[in-house]
Amino acid sequence: MISIALLGVLALVAIAPIAIAMSGSPNATGFVYGSCLIVTLILFLIALEILFAHPAASTVVLPLGLPWLGAHFRIDPLAAFFLVVVNLGGAAASLFALGYGRHEETPQRVLPFFPVYLAAMNLVVLADDAFTFLVSWEFMSLTSWALVIAYHRVHDNIRAGYVYLLMASFGTLTLLLAFGLLAGSDGGYAFDAIRNSHPAAGTAALVLILVLIGAGSKAGLVPLHAWLPLAHPAAPSHVSALMSGVMTKVAVYGFIRIAFDLIGQPQWWWSLVVLGVGGVTAVMGVLYALMQRDLKRVLAYSTIENIGLIFASLGLALAFKAYGMNVAAALALTAALLHVFNHSLFKSLLFFGAGSVLSATGTRDMEQLGGLIHKMPQTAFVFLVGCTAIAALPPLNGFVSEWLTFQAILLSPQLPSWGLKLMVPAVGALLALSAALAAACFVRAFGITFLGRSRSPEAAAAQETDTNSLAAMYALAGACLIAGILPGFFIDALAPVVQQLAGGRMPVQLGGEWMSQWTSIVPIAESRSSYNGLLVFAFMFIAGMVTAFAIHRLASDKIRRGPAWGCGYPDASVATQYSASSFAQPIRRVFGSLVFGAREIGTMPPPGSIAPARLTVRLRDLIWDFTYAPIASAVGVIADRLNYLQFLTIRSYLSLVFGALVILLTVLATWP
């Protein structure tokens, strides 16, 4: 099994040189994405097979990497699950790119890196020793960096790539320190060795903090998220989908692997940190998303929000695990993993949609879009499905994982520690807030982009996207629906993973007699809480159909077209529509001054003057201003100060040498 998986990865790597060789030829795009599609599908099936037939963890050691250690690879249920996520996303992206990739003007800057990027993400999940893990991890960053700067003539993209690469290396170095602590000076880098060496409490805590920083900076936890909204939109859309939908999940994998698997038994207060960070990240992310006017940037920020949700659930799982409440831990962990899966589905879908819009209209600026539902009805439909899913609305899949998270939160009274008892509901409030805001955010995203009237000639002239892209998007939309109405199936599939990490599992969902429990999910007990996506969907569907039928049959079914009523004001210009920023204005008023230091300066012309009234809004990214800007300026200042040393006279250089000599001699003279 694992050898086949590695062969698949090898095949992906092998595509790159062929792509370089074929660069310039028109069939390169088709070849690369086609073969990527095939290979990722194979890997996806392998991973599924392992997950369901779940054989015991299979390992293999190749004579690569660290010479005396070799490269360890291992597939256990956890790895298998994330392989599923990675390769499903990869396959979808490849399929989408089969159509989308034809719009590239410089394909040779994308094609060689795309398969290697996929391979790197697979390797991170497969790796079973610190070195292989970190090599793949950083290689993943490197290849995605190359993809981010594919459109390198736009200066912003270069800057985005720069920030991204710096943050990624920062994360890798932090993880490196973490492994340095885990492995010790004599270098027991294999994960087995790390598992068996039980670190002291203090060490373990430090490791957890380092990992939270390292993996968090990759996943986009506030305040380490700064690179994400820059880098994800800059890349080609199918790559953005991979980065947002899949790579952040690989980062989550890194956190889970170390925090739940390698460190050993957690301490309860760790969860305070993780919970807090997760909750804040969720709310901040979605608030930022609401303020953006760049469609892909909205999606990137909403990724941050979902990552926050995932980490909050992981924090809960840590808390329960710390107190040995395995079933509760299993519930929280299932919620997290299910959301990992769901988010990878609908976020890829949404980025594909954004990509189609981008290639159809040539802009990502929502203020230039509008009315696309008439021009690209199918894209609009799948995008709507994605929005409904990510807004956590039943009967789609986003709601299921969110619901499970809430169920886990409701178990918090059983926690012995008072800090957690009080903290968890507050985090719950944050998550509820972020969920509601997410709904608002995607009403805005879909409404401004697809509904209303076209705000620019480009939008008016848009065409429906190609079949390959549509196929990819329909596939993902279908997956969203299935995961939404048959969640029990997925929860049971996650059972081995959860068993491995939390030492417990949720009750079996499928089965039970046909009516009462069938297809409904029951976290703890039926009297406590249950949800049946299928029936909710069926009820709404039937009710809607029956009403429609009845009304059309018994009452009128006639349609007349006319100008919009609008209280009798005819809106001549499309500019009178609500714009993206005006739509966000009420929420900006509520949260803006607190989070963004928002300033609204309205200038009213004096009566009689014909000057236009202006409203200018200033938003500051406080996190950037107070975290990153100071660091950057500090580096600049130090560099300038030290740079004087470049321009000294020889005599001053000699005096430096002399000074060093005298100092060292003094040290010797005063040596005990």
Partner: protein, 318 residues
């Protein structure tokens, strides 16, 4: 046989809420008119309106898309399903486990999601106003509602409405500060969710003040009828939710004799009437607030609910 009766009861519940919703709306209107010492429309006026609307043709804005025509059915179906999942006269109905309270709120959320989209479809400025204000209100009301659910669920140890109702009916509830706070918060949320004064005025078309009406401004004919019906269903839903959670007396248990069912039905009607009357009184006694006071109003609800979740530790039953 039991299954048959179960089905029958579930169906009865669905029809009951569907039929009672306009009545409640009419009742509230009537009471308000009386309190303002007006004659007011007859009780059954809402039914007449609905039927009239259903007969009329639909006039669609030129720019309206297919989505605009689908949404009324989605909204109505979602609200109806949600409403029929609230125990009214009998708890533990056949499908009661289909969705717990959190899911019911989420189903309402999806109804609102689509309604807000509908507001933006025609591409008029009013639709935009309505939708943006609606989502702003929702972004505070939904978390508040969820926190209320948390309070009660943390106390009752369940989010299943039947179980919660049973618990609230049992002796070991006692009087708790948290529950009091939760009730106040729930009322605030209910007022906001149903676009009642002081958050919104269902009877106005003054463009600066309207929220819900602005969203549905472009609807006409059967579509409008469905949306109106959905609105009154929602009102009924919240009223019966309050009734079921905070006045669960008389709700007949899962396995019960017909007499108990009758008692339950009677009690339900009583409760609805009482609450409707209170609502009318409340609405007549205060004025509509500015749109940007609403966040503070709802924020208060959110804070109350959060406070309640924290207080529940200190406030053991006494």
């Amino acid at each position: 046989m039991a299954v048959i009766t179960d089905f029958a009861l579930q169906g009865a519940q669905m029809l009951l809420v569907l039929l009672m919703a306009p009545l409640l709306t009419g009742f509230v209107r009537k009471v308000k008119a009386r309190l303002l010492s007006r004659q007011g429309p007859p009780l059954l006026q809402p039914y007449r309106d609905l039927i009239r609307l259903l007969r009329k043709d639909v006039v669609l804005a030129n720019n309206a898309s297919w989505l605009f025509r689908v949404i009324p059915y989605v909204v109505f179906a979602a609200t109806w399903v949600a409403a029929s999942l609230i125990p009214t006269f009998r708890s533990g109905l056949l499908f009661s486990w289909t969705a717990d309270l959190i899911a019911i709120i989420a189903v309402l959320g999806s109804a609102r999601f689509f309604l807000a989209l509908a507001g933006m479809d025609a591409g008029t400025s009013f639709g935009g106003i309505g939708s943006s204000r609606e989502v702003m209100i929702a972004s505070l009301a939904e978390p508040a509602m969820l926190m209320i659910v948390f309070v009660i669920a943390l106390i009752a140890g369940s989010t299943q409405l039947s179980t919660m109702a049973a618990f609230m009916n049992s002796a070991d509830v006692g009087l708790r500060v948290s529950l009091g706070l939760a009730l106040i918060a729930l009322i605030i949320v209910a007022v906001a969710e149903n676009a009642r004064i002081p958050v919104d005025n269902p009877a106005t078309h003054l463009e600066l003040t309207m929220v819900h009406e602005a969203m549905v401004l472009e609807y006409s004919g059967r579509h409008l009828a469905l949306i109106e019906l959905a609105a009154s269903l929602k009102l009924l839903l919240y009223v019966s939710l309050i009734a079921c959670l905070f006045a669960p007396w008389g709700i007949s248990p899962a396995i019960a004799a017909p007499t108990l069912l009758l008692i339950g039905a009677a009690a339900y009607a009583g409760k609805i009437a009482a609450l409707g009357f209170l609502l009318a009184v409340f609405e007549t006694s205060i004025a509509k607030m500015r749109a940007f006071r609403v966040p503070e109003f709802l924020g208060a609800a959110l804070m109350l609910a959060l406070l309640a979740t924290l207080l529940r530790f200190v406030s053991r039953s006494f």
